[in-house]
């Protein structure tokens, strides 16, 4: 079984098919890639460096913009990628500008999260 899966040749991320530990050396499409940090199965790893503001590509299409610089082999997720779609919390963000970092869904209790925000609304 492959450790990671690249779906389209245009992609700059791959999907981990098993847990990847730091410093593990992978070969992806003939190129060496060193895992920078623990990446859980199903999560994404950067195939090469992605600058802040650059599109993150999976399935051959942009899935969002890098909200921070991402090094090759780094974990690519909500802490460094931001969607530009359906964002009523942002007042018309200018095209191409990386969205500001918001609270990390991973950092909170998933069940308590929505309750907390509805209390804020009330």
């Amino acid at each position: 079984m492959k450790a990671v899966l690249v779906i389209s040749a245009r992609d700059n991320v791959a999907t981990a098919l098993e847990q990847l530990e730091r410093d593990r050396r992978l070969e992806v499409n003939g190129e060496a890639l060193v895992v920078r940090e623990t990446i859980p199965p199903g999560h994404k790893i950067a195939l090469h460096a992605i600058d802040a503001g650059e599109p993150v590509i999976k399935y051959g299409s942009p899935i969002g913009l890098a909200s921070a610089a991402i090094g090759a082999g780094a974990h690519v997720h909500t802490h460094n990628v931001s969607s530009g779609r359906g964002r009523g919390d942002l007042a018309n963000p200018p095209d191409g500008e990386p969205a500001p970092r918001l609270a990390e869904p991973d950092d909170r209790d998933d069940l308590a999260g929505p309750v907390r925000s509805s209390r804020e609304i009330v």
């Binding site: 079984m1 199903g42 399935y59 899935i63 909500t78 931001s82 964002r87 919390d89």
Partner: protein
């Protein structure tokens, strides 16, 4: 020449084909929902109810959607007979629902709680009628129907990274094959097309269809913006994010695989509106699973294929919902909810084509009467999409 695939279905007087033969008990309003459920329970296994929270206190388009959705279930080919349970003072008109059922060649009767003199009498009368209808339907036999009579609802829920890699592309292959054979498929959940609209728009057979798709996606995105809220609270969901999905674009690109790679996009229709074209139709439904499945079945889908990564129990009162997962752990841990395990795709021990062959055969078996896990467990979730406040 090989024989065309097909299934054993119920051919209806209006020309449509059913995969089930239910006695549908329809409450016109929330106030008659409990009586409707008790009447349906008295006519098991054919009896099934669609309890809901609407039918009164609704204005304009919302009232229309409630009425049209209930009428669509009364006309549905998976339904052989209808008992309408009215209160007596509500907005939804029982006679309209009963007439719709009769126009489609079904047995139909109305029981009104106020006119009958309360819960006990209405329940007793409705149960007698439903049991009588069930007796008639039990004598009807299935006959051979061509696969082009099938309208398949494509759904995903509780998605994780395996959805986009295994279960959705497996379903997509089945969609392509079904459409090539002259059948129909419907994809809902507009928010989960957001970010992948270019993929579907490029397959639209008419420019107006592509424009309509983009318009409804823009509308959903504008609605989210106008609330001043971040759609990321729900799209992707917290579970999606734990599973490795980062953005709605990523979720959508994986979700849209359910619509196949080649199937032409023929139409874009409103919530629960009739699916009239062969090929792929997009329906304007929300992403919430039960509301979405309710709408697509209302449009005429007789079988739902529901892909899941994390596992989910959702069923439907009148259509079989077939669950497929690419997550081996979910297939084990939620075995009672899962019909088909395609997790072997993830470790390369099964090809997508081989998994699609198995799913295709399972869809035809379910269309011919094989019970799905959701049916065995009695999952009959039903929820009509609402857009406006209750007045």
């Amino acid at each position: 020449m090989t024989e065309r695939p097909g299934f054993m279905g119920y051919r209806r007087p209006d020309g449509r084909v059913g995969t089930r033969n239910h006695v549908l008990v329809v409450p016109t309003v929330i106030c008659s929902s409990l009586v409707a459920e008790r009447i349906a329970a008295a006519a098991l296994p054919l009896g099934t109810a669609v309890p809901h929270l609407a039918g009164c206190g609704q204005l304009g388009p919302d009232m229309r959607v409630t009425h049209d959705t209930l009428a669509a279930y009364c006309a549905h080919p998976n339904v052989g007979a209808v008992v309408v349970v009215a209160l007596g003072c509500e907005q939804v008109i029982a006679q309209h629902l009963a007439k719709t059922a009769k126009r489609h060649g079904k047995l139909a009767e109305i029981v009104a709680i106020q006119a009958e003199g309360g819960t006990v009498r209405a329940t007793a009368k409705g149960a007698r009628i439903a049991q009588g209808f069930a007796g008639v339907l039990a004598t009807e036999e299935r006959e051979w129907c061509d696969i082009s009579d099938l309208v398949l609802s494509l759904k995903c829920g509780g998605s994780d990274y395996t959805s986009g890699l295994a279960s959705n592309p497996t379903l997509g292959r089945v969609t392509d094959r079904l459409v090539e054979l002259g059948g129909s498929a419907v994809l809902g959940e507009i928010a989960e097309i957001m970010g992948a609209e270019h993929v579907l728009a490029a397959r639209a057979t008419r420019p107006a269809t592509a424009t309509k798709l983009i318009q409804i996606i823009t509308r959903v995105e504008t609605e989210a913006r106008s609330l001043g809220l971040d759609i990321r609270g729900t799209q992707p969901s917290p579970g999606n994010i734990r599973g490795g999905l980062t953005t709605i674009e990523e979720k959508s690109l994986g979700a849209t695989h359910k619509g196949g790679e080649r199937a032409p996009l023929e139409d874009v229709v409103a919530y629960a509106a009739p699916i009239t074209r062969k090929g792929l139709t997009v329906m304007d439904t929300p992403g919430l699973d039960v509301e979405s499945v309710t709408g697509m079945v209302g449009g005429g889908a007789q079988v739902v294929v529901f892909t899941t990564g994390l596992g989910t129990p959702t069923g439907n009162p009148i259509a079989p919902v077939l669950k497929i997962t690419g997550n081996a752990r979910t297939a084990r841990q939620m075995a009672d909810n899962i019909d088909l395990d395609v997790s072997a795709i993830m470790d390369d021990s099964e090809t997508l084509d081989a998994a699609a062959d198995r799913l295709f055969a399972e869809v035809l078996a379910v269309a011919s009467g094989r019970q799905t896990a959701a049916e065995r467990l009695g999952h009959r979730e039903f929820a009509i999409h609402r857009r406006n406040p209750t007045i």
